[in-house]
Structures are given as C-alpha cells and as structure tokens.
Symmetry: D3
Subunit: 164 residues, 6 copies
Amino acid sequence: MSKTNMAVYPGSYDPLTNGHIDIIQRGLKIFERIVVAVLRNPDKTYLFDLEERCRMLREVFRDSARIEIDHFEGLLVDYVQRRGVTTIVRGLRAISDFEIEFQMALMNRKIDPRVETIFFVPSESYSFLSSKLVKEVYQLGGEVSSMVPPIVDAKLKERFRHRG
Amino acid sequence: MSKTNMAVYPGSYDPLTNGHIDIIQRGLKIFERIVVAVLRNPDKTYLFDLEERCRMLREVFRDSARIEIDHFEGLLVDYVQRRGVTTIVRGLRAISDFEIEFQMALMNRKIDPRVETIFFVPSESYSFLSSKLVKEVYQLGGEVSSMVPPIVDAKLKERFRHRG
Amino acid sequence: MSKTNMAVYPGSYDPLTNGHIDIIQRGLKIFERIVVAVLRNPDKTYLFDLEERCRMLREVFRDSARIEIDHFEGLLVDYVQRRGVTTIVRGLRAISDFEIEFQMALMNRKIDPRVETIFFVPSESYSFLSSKLVKEVYQLGGEVSSMVPPIVDAKLKERFRHRG
Amino acid sequence: MSKTNMAVYPGSYDPLTNGHIDIIQRGLKIFERIVVAVLRNPDKTYLFDLEERCRMLREVFRDSARIEIDHFEGLLVDYVQRRGVTTIVRGLRAISDFEIEFQMALMNRKIDPRVETIFFVPSESYSFLSSKLVKEVYQLGGEVSSMVPPIVDAKLKERFRHRG
Amino acid sequence: MSKTNMAVYPGSYDPLTNGHIDIIQRGLKIFERIVVAVLRNPDKTYLFDLEERCRMLREVFRDSARIEIDHFEGLLVDYVQRRGVTTIVRGLRAISDFEIEFQMALMNRKIDPRVETIFFVPSESYSFLSSKLVKEVYQLGGEVSSMVPPIVDAKLKERFRHRG
Amino acid sequence: MSKTNMAVYPGSYDPLTNGHIDIIQRGLKIFERIVVAVLRNPDKTYLFDLEERCRMLREVFRDSARIEIDHFEGLLVDYVQRRGVTTIVRGLRAISDFEIEFQMALMNRKIDPRVETIFFVPSESYSFLSSKLVKEVYQLGGEVSSMVPPIVDAKLKERFRHRG
C-alpha cells in the first residue's frame, strides 16, 4: 500500500546546501514525512563519500522527527517502490534544470506509471545555488557560508585545506 | 487553520481540456481533495462565460466526490486564504509555461509566504495542448476530440457553428 | 496522391522579409516546388491587406518558376490537404519560435497524421529578424533596408509616410 | 562626440519598480551618469501618463545628481544619437527577457552600428518582478510594498481605489 | 552532382531507440532514400562498438530498401560531400537539443555552404527519450522495452547482465 | 580604490576566437582599458598551455595599448580584487550561456557584492561560435579560418597535424 502522506526527495547531496533545505521545508508543508534519499552511483566520484553525506544530513536534521535520511543505489523507481512511496519531490531552479528534470520525471513514469514527481520552486535567494558551484568556490579558496549549513561550511573548509 | 490534504488548482478553463484532467488526476494521488477554482477576470473576454465553464467542469467531474468546482475573482492568494488552503497546483508543459508560472509562484509567495505552489508534469500526450490552441482549431472548423472531454467537444462545435 | 517534391511555406508575410526569402531558398534545395501560402485570418489586423502581401511576394519571386504564391483561410491542415501536399516548411530562429512552432507542428499532426512539418535554420544574419520588428522600426521613422527586399522597403516607407 | 561615461536606461516605467532602481544603481558603478529615458509610445495605453511616470522617477531620484530623468518618443537609436550617447543599459531577469532584449539589441545595432547595449543582472530578489505583474497585483487589491518605492506604492493604491 | 532526393541522418546510435526510428520514418515521407550514418569518434567510449551499432540498425531496417546503413569518422560535412548528399536530417526534442543542434547546423554551413540541415519533431511519445537515458536505465537494472526495438532491448539486457 | 574605467574579461581562451575579439572591441567602447585574464585551472586539460594561450593573445593585440593580457588561477573575485577592478565583462551568445553566466554572476556577487558582471551581445556572425567547437572542427581536419585570427588558425593546423 502506498503512503500518500510521504515523499522521497532524492539527490547526491554532495554536499547538502541551503537550497536543498529550502525544498525540504516546503515539502514538509504538504507531506507528513520526507525521506531524503542519498544516491550512491558507483560510477561517479564524490567529494564526500556516502557515509559523510548522510552524516551531514543527519546532523542538520537531527531535531526534525518528520525527516528521515536514507540512501539508495540503482533505479530511483525501484527504491521508491521498496519504500512504498509514490511521490518524488524535486526543486526547479532554472531552465537547465527544467529539461533534465522533465526527462527524468517522464522516464520514471514510463518505468512505473504510479510514480509521480512534483516540483517546488526554491526561494529566489537560492536560484543560482548548486552543490557543484559550492564545491568549486571552496576548492578555489572562497567560501559562501550563507549558502550552506555551518557543518557543511566547516567540512568543505577542512576538505580543501587538506588538499590545498 | 490550513488544510494540508487539500489543494487549489486555479485556471480559466476556457475550456477544460484533457490536459487539465490529467493534472487533476495526478493531484488526487497526493491530495485528499482538489478544488478546481475557475477564474473570472472582468477585464478578459472568454469564449464560455463563468457559468458555462463551471457547468462543463461539474458535468465532467460529477462522479468525483474528491473534486470540488468553485470560482473566484481577484487575487489568487486571497482566494486560497479564504478557503483555508495553502497549496496551489499547476501543470508545467514547456519552457514558456515555466517562466510565467515561476514568476507567479514567487509573486504569490511574496504576497503571502504561507502559500506554496507545486508543479506536476502532464502526460507527454498533452505536452502541446492548451485551451487557446483548442479554441483556435475549432474556430477554424477543425476538431481535436481526443484532446477534450466529449461535452467540451460538443460545446465547442455548437459554439462555432452558431458563429460560422 | 501526395506530392512529396512539393512543400507549403505558410505565414502572414506582413510583410515579406529577407528572412522569409532565406528560408524559401533553402527549401528549394530540397523541394522541386515551394508554395508560399499567405494566411488571411479575419480576426487579425494586418498592415498590408491580403492582396498587397501577395503582390509583393509575386513581385519578388516573379522570375522563380518553382515558387508559387497562394493564400488561404482557415485550418492550415485543410489547406495542405486541398493542395495535395503533406510537407510544411517553417523557419526556426530562436527559443521563442521553438515552443510555438512545436506546439503547432504537434497539433497539426494530431489533426492530420500525414502532415509533417520540417524546420530550417535561417542565416544567422536574420536570427533577430521578424515582420513585427520591421514594422515597428519603419513606423517609428527608421529603416532596415538590408532586412527586406527593395519593394517592401519602398512600400513600408510609403505606408508610414501616409500615416505620419 | 559621444559621451562614453554616460548611458541611457530606456523603459516604460509604468510604474518604476525596485528592480529598475537596482539596475540603475549597478549602472552607476560603471557610468558617471545614467539617463533614465521614459518611453512614450502613442499606440500604447499606460496606467500612469508620461508626466506621472517622470514625476515618480524624479521624486525617487531627487537627491541623485548623477541620474537624469528624460523622456522620448520614436526610435531609441534616434534618441540616443540626439543625446550623444552610444551605450544602452538593460536588465536581464529571465529567458523570456533574453530573447526579446537580444532581438532589440541586434536590431538597434543594425540601424546604428555605433550603439551598444549592455546587460546587467538584477538582484535575485527581483528576478520575478515586472511592472506588469505589480500592476496586476494592485489592481486585484493586493500590494507588494517591498517591490516598489513608497511613492509608487501610494500612487498604485490611490489609482486603484479610484477605480475600485 | 548532389542528390536532392537523399538525406543523411547522422548519429552515434549507441544504441538505436524508437525515437530515431520515428525520425527516419518521417524522413522517408520526404526523401527517396535515407542514409543512417553511424559516427565513430575515436575519442569517445561507446557501450556498443561500431560494428554492433551498425548490426542492430541493419537488423531493424533489413526490409527497408530505402534505408542505407553506413558509418563515418571525421567531419560530417566531409562525409556528406563524399556521399554526394547536401541534406542532413536531425530530430529536435527539446530546448537543450535546439541550441546544440543550431550551433552544429550553422557551423556545418560555415564549413560548406551547400550543406543544409533540416529538423523533424519526433512523436511526443519520444520527447524525453535519449540513448543516454536508455543506457542508464538498463545499467541500473531497469528496462523500457517500449522505447527501443526488441533487438536493442535484448542486447542491452545481455550487456548489463554480463557486467552486473 | 577601484578603477571604474577598467574591466576584466576572463576566460580560458583555448584558443582565442573572433567572437572573443568582437566582445573585447565592444568593451573598448565603454572602458578605457580591458584586462583579458586567461584562466589556468589546474584540474582542466587545455589544448594550448597557459603560455601559448597568452602568447597568441599578445600577438593579436600587440598594437592595442588599451588591452592588457594577464592570467590568473583561483577565484575570479580574488583576482579582480587584486587588480583593483570591480567590473567583469562577458559575452552572451545563447540561452545555454545565459543560465551558466547568470549563475556565475550571482555567485560572484554573493562572494563579493562590489563585483558587477556586465554582458555584451556578440555580432550575430559569431552567435554559434565557441572555442570548443573550433577545436573539434580542426581536430577532425576541417578549418574555419573566418572564425579565428590567422595566428590561431595556423597554430590549430600545426597542433592537429602533429597529432594526426
């Protein structure tokens, strides 16, 4: 039986940004429970390994009983089926997101027609924010502490100090 | 108190298309109740007046206990407040939708930060469908009966025969 | 029987620009014959009436035996059927074109699945050119004689002198 | 002789929004002087007439010695020539802006190759803001006082109270 | 001498999808003969090598006398010249396609002005389909048998079973 | 103290194209001095190393007293601060540019609010031109000598002859 008051918010979270947190908080206005599902794709290289990414998420949401941190490998539709959920939540920042997200939403629906993807618009403050851009800024010695939670800011500084 | 298991799906519905029905059905996967809110903008000219547009909607959804047909004038955020709802549902077909819809979602949020807009992707069969295009086709003597419910198809033919 | 070596290039041509001529010349690389089909939509206001628009086209293409100037009212798919043609030719300049053109191509295919629309890319010199913009420039007393054929340039100057 | 330390920022300003002010302030980082040039197009209907639009601008910028409020009719390139300026400043909020603005910039350059248009990105707080949307909100009885200067907010309320 | 009743449809076909087949069938409405030209770029890694990709295409089109399967390396314009063809056929699904395809069409035209690229719109059923996405789905253990020919479906399953 | 009559035009210039030169010349209409700042990102592979890229730029602009060729590593905002400049110049060709450029402009502004990015539109002749596409053409044995300065054309031919 599917749980309609629950949604999955999948992503790499490498690392979590304030843009992700914004979408999660919007999701909680509609869903009783949000499962933040961290993707591990064995073919990709991450800055933070799966455990580190999950740990940062758990730390940030430790007081949020309605948010669950989980992880998955393989097809997203298989994962949501296993979890008995049929709703996927995603944020849409810009046109480039739009096309990739639509392609994935329609493909997931083709694989399993029960799965529905819904989109939230993040705060305009985060319209230009992405994990990729955040990593680039820290790697080059910059920081954008207003764009990530304090624990992520600290981890990013630590990580690039080690490398620098 | 806001009803989180309820959402408003606002629009002109001039006329209702199968694309709207597709979005409503997707909305019912998540919300217990969808209020289809027909906009009456006194500055706009409609093909079907408010009563006709509502009547077609009621006819199509007469057996759907979870769908309510309502109408409103003025600001959408005022209407959703009056209804005690905080979620607005919209469909996103294409890039052109994207920008207008985002602008409205962000403006509505500025007027009332509690109001959240979520977006569904219609079936790809309806990716090119709009009420405006449907009216143009019928007006020129064509028909797209697979694109609108039978009652709308009949009404469109009747309307343009009278004019023709 | 459909004529596959023939295509229809529909439009308002209010007025003809060098961008239209560019697309026609590209079409002649593929099709034996191009029918330039001037739309008359009774609900629209044109700067040049149907006869004037056709006359300018005939003047410009008077030495082109493979180009036919015709006009139509009503549904484009009805017109191409009457002409025994199944290919529609259109130019794609920019993203905004893209969405409207795709919507029309898919809707026309829905009305008559035999009808195929193909798109050409105009020379980058005309990437920003539109009949609408040309009219605005002349109306304000400017001119863009490199953007329209001489006869159209003359007609535009005459038209706006009369009004000015 | 052209004044390179001066730029024209043309628009309808019907009415001025905080998004316009944001672009003007960015322009002042580069140019010694910005001419805010209010367009009067006799074919268009404005909410505020030319005098009102200019008066609101003068009021808002009365202490800004480097900002001049002017108005024009006809071709923008003719106006900038008369003023001895060759740089036009515009804001780019979104994709839809992008295409229209590029078309105009390239057409203006075709009419007068000396004229250059440069684009600024407004603060992300104003990414969804437009004069048109502001008017719609006030007309429907809403207000977005954080989006317009106080004098414009007051004028909009007064204007729509008279009509309401 | 150029063969105007013939067109080249170039691509990687890694692997062939129903979206490609849709475009080929639309091309056959206009051209007497379509050359499906499989690209081998020595700098790229393919899932299926050149021979396998060609074999799948030959299998699928073995009864289509008007379709030729060929392959090429190097510049597309050199290949079409060698084949005596001047028309390139491409499908346009979405905005992201649009920009890349336009860039290539204009660059090819710059290298050889005789070469013309024309675009078809695939069925809306394939609007979200790409070889890349198909590979990702099969690699993760999913399948989308309605999106590829049976022989490709079988090959994909075989390939990823070997790896899995 | 910031130099407002000076701007930085950052990029990889791997290699310089006529599109870059077009933007630089437009920039010189507004700024007394343009610093062409060649990026060296240690994580990226370039066709031409930093020295070669700078040498080609110096060669092309050797008679331009108002153009300075410089190079940098790390954060662009750190570099412009070191140079005492606050204006970054960029070209906008197409929608795909638009989103990436906006994201970077807003992020740079977040890191240092004094930094302003302004955008120029290149000549429509270069609307499809990019260093990446130029390299691909030469690598495959083609040439686009109208798209790059003679010295770059020669260098590209030499480089790919060595490899070929």
